[in-house]
C-alpha cells in the first residue's frame, strides 16, 4: 500500500522522466516498461507499487544506483618487505610461534590451531628448508568504514572487512593484488586486526582463514576451513614457489611447468561463515608469472603487459537494504544469495577507458552464488555476436587460444581472456562495448535461462570505451601459431581407484554422498601421494547447480556426460560446474604434500550449509569408492 509521500514521489519521478526526453524505447530498454507499455510496478515510479520495506534484503529491493559513474578500480600491488620490517619482529620460522601472547591469552601465531584449538608441533611448513622464502609480504585484515561502492553520494559509505597492503593503509575491496613468480618461494604474513564480533554490522565473523585459491600448497599454508585464527594473532602462509611435481623425478626440483597457475585469488574460508566473510570484502587477486607467462609482452608467450594491459576483473553481486542504504547479507539463508547490484572491482557497473589494442583480462566470479554468461554487446546492435579469446581457465593457460563469443562462469571460476579492442573497433565501427551478463538467475540454487543481448533483465557488468590506437607488442591470436603448455597426459594414466560423489540435499542441508562436514575431525578418505585417482561427480535433476572446488591440485575433466569436454574446458581446472543432471569424470593427481584438504561447493552459502568434505593425502591411500 503506497503512502501519500510515495505517491507524490512517484509522480515527481514520472514527470522527470518526461522532462529528460526518454523515449518509450529507452524506458523499455531500461526495464522500466512492461510489455503492455505501462510503467513497471516499482516503488518510486508506479503509485500502486508494493514497497520493499526497510530491512528487506532481496533482489528487486536494492535502491537504484546509476551505472557507469565510476572508472574501473584497479587494485594496487602489495609491496614486498624486507625481513627487517617491524612486522617480522617475530621472524618467520618453519614451525609456528606457539608461545602465548598475554594480550589475548592465545598463541602469537594462529598457525597450529585446528578448529580453534592449539595442536603443538603441528602445521610446520613442509619443504621449508629446501625452498627457503625469498620474498615476504604483509597484509592486515581490518575494517574500513569509509568504503564507497559508487560515487553517487546519495548512497552512504559502507563498512567492509578486508585486506590491506600491510602498512597503515586502509583495507580495500578487492584486496590489493599479490604478484609472485615461480621458482621464487614466498611468504605472506597476515595480521587479524578485525573489530570484535559485535561490531560486524549484522554479518561477518572476525575469525578468518585466508585461502590462496588454488595454489599448490601444504595444508598448513592453504587456508582451510578449520585453520582459522583469531583477532590479535598473525598467520604465516608459506609457498614453495614451485609447480606440482617438484619433490620427485622427473620434475624435481622445480616441478612440472605444465602445472603453472597464473590467475589466483585469496579469500576467507572460515568454516560455517565463509559466505558472509567473503561477501563482506575478504577477497583479492593474486597473479603468478613464470619464464613464459612473464607479464612483459616482449618476452615469453608475449601476452599483454602487466599491469597496464593485463587487468583483473572481480565480479561480485550484492544486495543493499532499501531502508539504510547499506550492504546487507541474510545469515539465515541456505540456498544462496543473488544480488541486484553488480560490482566489478568493488564499484557499481564501472566504465573502463581502453586503448584500441589487445588487453588480457583475468575475469573472476567471486560469488556468492551467481552464475554468469558474459558476452560483449554492442548496445546499438545487441544481437551481434562479438568474439574474444579464451587463453586460460581457472588460472591455467589452455594449450592454445580459443575463440568464443561468451564465457559461462560459476562462483570461483576464472577465465583469462584477450579482447582485441583495436580489431573490434574497426570491425564494428563502435567505441562502446558492454561486458554483459545474459544469464538470468533469481535465486541462489541455479540459473534460469539465457537472455537475448540487450534484454532489460540482462545486466551490463561494465562498459569498455575504446579510445585511440597505441603500439601493441603482444602477439595476435588471430594470426595463429600461439601455443602455451600441453596438457599433462591423462589417457595413458591408470588411476589407482575411482571414487563417486553425489551432490544432494537432505532435510534442507546440502550434502556430498549423503553427509556434510559434520566437524573438523571428520576426514572421510585418504588418497595416496603419487597415485592419481578418477573422481566422478554426479548431480541429479533436483534443481540445483554446484561449482565444485578441490584444493591444492588442478584436475582435468575427462568427460562431461559421456562426451569430451568442450574446447574451453579442455584445461586444467580447480572448479567444476555441475549443471542439472550431469555426470563429470575427472583425473586428479596428489603430489608433494601430505595432509588434509577440502572439496566443496563454491556457492559459499551451500558450503556453509554443509556441502564440504575433508580428505587427506597420505603415504597409503584407502579403497573407499563412495566416501
Amino acid at each position: 500500500m503506497a503512502t501519500q509521500r510515495e505517491i507524490a514521489n512517484a509522480r515527481k519521478n514520472r514527470l522527470e522522466i518526461i522532462k529528460a526526453g526518454l523515449t518509450r524505447r529507452d524506458l523499455f530498454k531500461m526495464g522500466l516498461l512492461t510489455s503492455a507499455g505501462y510503467l513497471i510496478q516499482k516503488n518510486g515510479l508506479s503509485a500502486w507499487a508494493q514497497s520493499c520495506a526497510a530491512g528487506s534484503c532481496q533482489p528487486g529491493c536494492s535502491p537504484f544506483i546509476p551505472p557507469f559513474l565510476d572508472p574501473l578500480y584497479i587494485p594496487p600491488i602489495v609491496p614486498s618487505r624486507p625481513l627487517t620490517d617491524p612486522a617480522f619482529k617475530l621472524p618467520p620460522q618453519q614451525c609456528p610461534h606457539n608461545t602465548r601472547n598475554p594480550a589475548i591469552n592465545r598463541p602469537y601465531e594462529g598457525r597450529g590451531q585446528y578448529d580453534g584449538v592449539l595442536q603443538a608441533g603441528k602445521d610446520c611448513f613442509q619443504y621449508f628448508h629446501r625452498y627457503p622464502p625469498q620474498v615476504y609480504f604483509v597484509q592486515r585484515l581490518r575494517a574500513n568504514p569509509n568504503f564507497r561502492i559508487t560515487s553517487d553520494t546519495s548512497i552512504p559509505a559502507q563498512t567492509i572487512w578486508g585486506f590491506n597492503r600491510g602498512g597503515s593503509d586502509p583495507a580495500m575491496v578487492p584486496g590489493p593484488t599479490i604478484v609472485t613468480h615461480y621458482q621464487t618461494p614466498f611468504l605472506v604474513r597476515r595480521f587479524n586486526e578485525l573489530p570484535p564480533q559485535a561490531q560486524n554490522g549484522g554479518f561477518g565473523v572476525p575469525e578468518v582463514s585466508p585461502h590462496l585459491h588454488n595454489y599448490h600448497s601444504g595444508p598448513e599454508s592453504d587456508g582451510g576451513p578449520c585453520r582459522y585464527f583469531f583477532r590479535g594473532q598473525f598467520y604465516d602462509f608459506y609457498h614453495t614457489g614451485q609447480q606440482a611435481g617438484f619433490s620427485t623425478t622427473p620434475f624435481s626440483p622445480t616441478g612440472d611447468v605444465r602445472e603453472s597457475l597464473g590467475s589466483l585469488w585469496y579469500h576467507d574460508h572460515r568454516k560455517d561463515h565463509t559466505a558472509e566473510n567473503t561477501y563482506k570484502g575478504m577477497a583479492g587477486f593474486q597473479v603468478n608469472f613464470n619464464q613464459f607467462d612473464t607479464g612483459d609482452e616482449g618476452t615469453g608467450f608475449r601476452l599483454p603487459s602487466f599491469p597496464q594491459y593485463d587487468v583483473p576483473l572481480l565480479l561480485a553481486d550484492k544486495l543493499v537494504d532499501p531502508g539504510t542504504g547499506l550492504l546487507c547479507f541474510d545469515t539465515f539463508g541456505f540456498d544462496g544469495l543473488v544480488g541486484d547490484v553488480q560490482l566489478v572491482n568493488g564499484k557499481v557497473q564501472p566504465f573502463m577507458d581502453v586503448s584500441a589494442r589487445r588487453y588480457r583480462f583475468r575475469v573472476l566470479d567471486t560469488g556468492p552464488s551467481r552464475f554468469y554468461e558474459l558476452h560483449l554487446t554492442d548496445p546499438r546492435n545487441p544481437s551481434t555476436r562479438i568474439y574474444f579469446w579464451i587463453i586460460g581457465n581457472d588460472g591455467n593457460l589452455l594449450p592454445k587460444p580459443y575463440l568464443t563469443d561468451s564465457i559461462r562462469m560459476g562462483p570461483a571460476e576464472r577465465f583469462d581472456i584477450i579482447i582485441d579492442f583495436g580489431r573490434l573497433q574497426k570491425q564494428f565501427g563502435t567505441s562502446i562495448l558492454n561486458f554483459e551478463n545474459r544469464l538470468l538467475q533469481t535465486d541462489g540454487r541455479a540459473p534460469k535461462s539465457v537472455l537475448p543481448g540487450g534484454d532489460p533483465q540482462a545486466k551490463v557488468c561494465m562498459q569498455f570505451r575504446i579510445g585511440a590506437a597505441v603500439p601493441d607488442g603482444s602477439l595476435d591470436p588471430m594470426k595463429g601459431g600461439m601455443t602455451f603448455y600441453q596438457l599433462p597426459p591423462t589417457t595413458t594414466v591408470v588411476p589407482r581407484i575411482t571414487r563417486t560423489f553425489n551432490f544432494n540435499r537432505k532435510n534442507g542441508q546440502w550434502q556430498i554422498n549423503g553427509r556434510g562436514l559434520d566437524n573438523c575431525a571428520d576426514i572421510r578418505f585418504t588418497v595416496q601421494r603419487g597415485a592419481p585417482e578418477k573422481w566422478i561427480l554426479i548431480n541429479t535433476s533436483g534443481g540445483w547447480q554446484h561449482p565444485v572446488h578441490i584444493h591444492t591440485e588442478e584436475f582435468q575433466i575427462l568427460s562431461r556426460n559421456g562426451n569430451l569436454p568442450t574446447m574451453g574446458e579442455r584445461s586444467r581446472k580447480d572448479v567444476c560446474r555441475l549443471q542439472f543432471s550431469e555426470r563429470v569424470e575427472l583425473m586428479i593427481r596428489f603430489r608433494d604434500f601430505l595432509g588434509d584438504y577440502p572439496m566443496h561447493c563454491h556457492n559459499v552459502v551451500h558450503e556453509d550449509h554443509n556441502m564440504m568434505v575433508l580428505w587427506q593425502i597420505g603415504t597409503v591411500g584407502d579403497n573407499n569408492t563412495t566416501p
Binding site: N43, D70, F191, E193, F234
Partner: protein, 229 residues
Amino acid sequence: MSGMTRRIWLAAGSASAMAGLSVRLGAGDGHANHPTRNWEQVSPREVIRRRHLPNVELITQDGKSVHFYDDLVKDKMVLINFMYAHCEKICPTMTANLAHVQRMLPERIGHDIFMYSITLKPEADTPEVLKEYAKMHGAGPGWLFLTGKPEDIETLRRSLGFTSPDPEEDADKSNHIGMIRIGNEPMLRWSACPAEIRPQGIINMILAEADDPLIGPTSETGTAAATVK
C-alpha cells in the same frame, strides 16, 4: 553532454529497481549532482530482530507465558529447533542428540546457552504433552519446550529460516527440517547445524559460536602485539 549520447548510455545500461528517487542522467562525467535520500538510522542488531526474531507469545512446558525475543533470545546465546511430540521421522535422533549435548555441557546450558524446542503441532502439543516429552528425554533446566498459537508458530518458523517462504495456509504441519539454529544474539552471529550428526560435532560448533567471539584484544582497534605503525 548531448541528449543523444545520454540516451545511448542509458540504453546501454539496464537499470533495475528504483526506490523513491529521481532519475539522474549524468552518467559518465562522474560528478553530477546526486540528490540526498532519507536513510533509516537503525542498528544492525535491530534489523536482524525485525527480520528474524518476532516477539510472539509462547507457553513453556510449565505453562509459563514468555515472549520469544524479550524473554528467550535477547542478550542470549541460543539453540533453537522445531519438533513435535509424536514425530515419525528424524526427530528421535535429533532430540537424543540435544539431550546428549545438554548432558555434556551442564555448566553452560541454562546458564549462558539456552535450548529451545518449539512444537510444529501446537494444537496437539499442549504444555502437559511437552512436559511429558521433556521428561521422557531427560531434558534438564535450561531447555524449554514451547507451544503457542498456530499462526505465531508459523511466523516464528518462517522468520527463523526453517522453511522456504510459503504464504499459504497449511492443513497439516508435519514439516520438519532437521536443523538446529544457533545464535549469539548480542553478537549478531547466526548459523545452523544439522541435527542428526554426531553430538560431538554439535558441541564443537556450539562452543565455537559461543566462545570464539570472546577471543582477541580488548582494545577497540584490535591490534596485535607484534604490529607496526
